[in-house]
Symmetry: C2
Subunit: 327 residues, 2 copies
């Protein structure tokens, strides 16, 4: 049994908890929180919630610790810190800061003789893998990544900061005609506006100036100004009823050519359609928990990403079984 700990019990931590119930070779040892442990109620019977202070006492009871904090401030501090004590997996997703994060975590993990797998999930994660496989198979080609249809937490937060907005949710939606042009092998050059549209569902405060709110959202730099944005005003009840989920998904496409005269076109397409973004991310992480455990068991150490993990390490099945059933 792989003994797993969870640090942080938000949506992602909850997703890890449920993913563990789907992997019979794993057991949840404890959930760690910076809050008062008594205030955190988890759903797995018989498992304790402990304060993060207790982590140092648990090094011989946990094989892999999953870090479920945010990329902005939690993980840059937590991953190097806990890679000194445990094999860890995180979902660090600030693409631009991955090299820096990798370097720090690598140093810590190597020193401690542990494995730390960073940036696991679907983007970065499965989408990255598909970009890599696409690039090596079709070296002469073009990459496309589309996100959605799905809820963007960052953009929903941005809406909620607008004066007069009580609540709101934003969906990122790929532009179907752009996707189709890529699929037809046209290799289009696409601007930001041509790739995604943004759809907002907004609950306004009573008496608020709706026109002003709509204009403010649509013109918000970075978040909305470069996109075709639609704004729908709805009631709190409608928001709760129709938009309380956290779906997401997207597409990675590689369009390329082969042949002595580059006369043949090929299209590789990978897509995800997810009812729950955090639960899917957690499911990917849980598979990499197994890889971390097995690689460290074989004496490997240091920081790894999805690029470094032989796919077979993700499965509880033996090499023989995998070759027989899935190859």
């Amino acid at each position: 049994m792989i003994r797993v700990g969870i640090l942080g019990y938000g949506n992602l931590g909850k997703g890890i908890e449920s993913a563990i119930t789907q992997n019979p070779d794993m057991e949840l040892v404890a959930v760690f929180t910076r809050r008062n442990p008594e205030s955190v109620v988890i759903r797995t019977e018989g498992v304790s919630v402990l304060h993060t202070d207790k982590l140092t006492e648990m090094t011989d009871k946990i094989d892999v610790l999953v870090l479920c904090g945010g990329s902005a401030t939690d993980l840059p501090e937590q991953t190097p810190k806990y890679a000194k004590l445990f094999n860890v997996v995180d979902s660090f997703d600030t693409h631009a800061r991955i090299p820096e994060h990798f370097a720090k975590v690598d140093e810590a993990a190597k020193e401690a003789g542990k494995i730390a797998i960073i940036s696991v999930g679907w983007d970065p994660g499965m989408f990255s893998l598909n970009r890599l496989y696409g690039n090596v198979i079709l070296p002469e080609g073009k990459d496309y990544t589309f996100w959605g249809k799905g809820v963007s937490q960052g953009h929903s937060d941005a809406i909620r900061r607008v004066e007069g907005v009580k609540n709101g949710k934003q969906y990122t939606i790929p532009v179907e005609s752009a996707l189709d042009a890529v699929r037809r092998g046209e290799n289009p050059e696409l601007t930001t506006r041509q790739k995604h549209i943004r759809e907002c569902f907004v609950v306004a405060e009573e008496g608020a100036d709706l026109e002003r709110i709509e204009a403010e959202i649509k013109n918000m730099p970075n978040y909305f100004a470069d996109y075709d944005t639609t704004v729908h005003f709805i009631t709190e009840e409608e928001l709760e009823k129709e938009h309380s989920g956290i779906p997401h998904g997207g597409f990675v496409l590689r369009s390329g050519v082969t042949g002595m005269n580059r006369e043949h076109k090929h299209l590789i397409e990978y897509s995800l359609k997810l009812d729950s973004n955090p639960e899917f991310t957690a499911s990917v992480i849980t598979a990499y928990v197994r890889a971390a455990y097995r690689m460290n068991g074989e004496g490997m150490t240091g920081c790894k990403t999805v690029f470094d993990i032989p796919p077979a390490y993700l499965s509880a099945k033996s090499g023989e079984e995998l070759r027989k059933c899935l190859l």
Copy 2:
């Protein structure tokens, strides 16, 4: 530079030849053939065509030998044989016999201190990888593999063996409504007939009994009897003009659930649309040539499949570059 040899100059060997021109860190050293080498004209200037007898003299001139023979009789003999002399990559695709092939090749490669990567291509190959990733991420779910639209060589050969048939080509086509049911998360149980249809383009000999030919094709056991098959009689000119390509492709889907109550559905879909089946297969193999070279350079030996190869080994880029650009 990775020095590559090609054994066998059919469609796949030609595909490897052109793929090498797309990978600047590789050079083609020689093409080997069992035919009279003077009868084989290749397209890369300055590269020799040699008889397979010469292979034993070339062990210090070739880093990786790509075996481009057929799975029925060539590879079961060639791969264990040449894994004793070279790092090799093959595209052995008789799914049921992979375990046996693996065992023989593993023994030979380990004894010689070489790496042998078997069953590389898209199925087995990229499709296998996607089945594996899908299974480990969504352990509670269902797998679907659809092939096509594309030319099946085996079924085209079967048509051509029917009396009165001069020439013919068979397309395997996934049933769109079945694909859509999978995409909607319905997890259908699909029979052979419900998954694929078979479309045949047949050139009959003059005066042949077309009704008899059509009936014989449609009722052929294993090949056509379990499918809805359509037969079109066309002229040799039409066949040449409209059906001389070797396109293929297909879909791998994993449909599964997550959540404490398995309340959320997820769909992972991977698809290929290929103008040239052998050139795409060759492009996948060529990426794994690089992995074989690098893994053996690090002292690894034995038989491997796509499941055992860390994705980063497929790329000429460094780990730093990959993390920066593709993660």
